[in-house]
Amino acid sequence: MSRQFSDLFDQLYREYAPMVKQVCTGFLNGDRALAEDLAHDVFINVWNALSKFRGEANYKTWIYRITVNSCLQYLRKPGMKAGLAPEQLENIRDQDTEATVKGKEQVSELYRAIGQLAEVDRLIIMMVLDELEYDQIASVMGVSEATLRVKIHRIKQRIKNILSHAG
């Protein structure tokens, strides 16, 4: 790969690695070790796809597409279970409670709430939280904007319910 691509990749990594890791963590119910592994997979896919980027979408949307597909593929790897067992979730929350401040605790609660959603819903709500435009989310998921709006409305209700019960 040429120096030009290498520099571009470095730039994309610096800019989007926190976003990718956050999505991976949310998708894997807050399991940061697994999320690290998944984010690594995502960036290897980004690296391998970079020379084929044609600029049809902006880099953020393009990386989101690779992230979403890598997440969907990751859970279907042999031996990979969809999410963590409840007792593992409990451990994560306990560690976070002891080790972090209130803001962190809120994010941990949010990860737990996201983890209770269906996997497609998890990905959508994380894009909403990251304030992606609806047309961008629709393009990442491959659905119409109208149906996406309905879905997001339902997911928001569900998240609020989960968080209110957790609180």
């Binding site: 990594y13 690594h40 597909n69 969907l72 279907r76 949010l110 149906t147």
Partner: protein, 196 residues
């Protein structure tokens, strides 16, 4: 509606902006290693099948050629089925490579389902047909083989086939079950996307 997730969005953004990333990984090497590992796994079946074809060709065509019609037909069937299997593997690799990671989730899921359906078909009817034709080819060698080999060896060759076939059928069934489970999972995911 617009601000109902305001607080959550703020926490989410803060968590993201607090994260520090360092470029300590050699992505070029890792991407190459991953691609190589994937290539080895994809091409290992082709290499094994090609070696088998080569050995059959050397033994049964070059060194100990069969002269009867049944013998020649048997060798032809054995080599032919293996060559077809190799071609299917090559096609399968091309099909897998055509699934791009930057497609939309819906397009990616549909492409994966098409690929998995193809794999299920290959592991099922195609592999079973290939095994049956290969065995027919093998048994067609036996009349001529028995003329040159002692009886016990001919009996041993014929008798070793059923246990081997049984083990192979178990492997094929396992493979079909695995492919079915993966395919069902993707179909379920596609339904989730479609239900939006």
């Amino acid at each position: 509606m617009q601000d109902e997730l305001f607080e959550l969005k703020q926490s989410w953004k803060k968590e993201q902006s607090d994260a520090k990333e360092t470029m300590h990984k050699d992505w070029s090497k890792q991407a190459t290693a991953k691609r190589n590992a994937s290539l080895v796994s994809q091409y290992s079946t082709i290499v094994i099948l090609s070696c088998t074809v080569l050995l059959i060709y050397l033994f049964l065509v070059r060194w100990y050629p069969y002269s009867t019609v049944a013998g020649k037909t048997g060798v032809g069937l054995m080599i032919g089925t293996l060559l077809i299997r190799i071609l299917i593997e090559v096609f399968s690799i091309q099909k897998a490579r055509s699934i791009k990671t930057w497609l939309s989730a819906e397009a990616y899921t549909k492409a994966t389902i098409r690929y998995r359906s193809f794999r299920k078909f290959v592991h099922g009817p195609v592999t079973i047909s290939i095994v049956v034709i290969y065995l027919v080819g093998f048994y067609l060698l036996m009349p001529e083989f028995s003329r040159h080999a002692p009886l016990w060896l001919t009996v041993l060759c014929c008798a070793s086939v059923p246990p081997g076939a049984f083990i192979m059928i178990q492997q094929i069934r396992k493979g079909i079950k695995k492919e079915m489970a993966i395919l069902q999972d993707w179909i379920k995911l596609n339904a989730m996307l479609g239900s939006q």
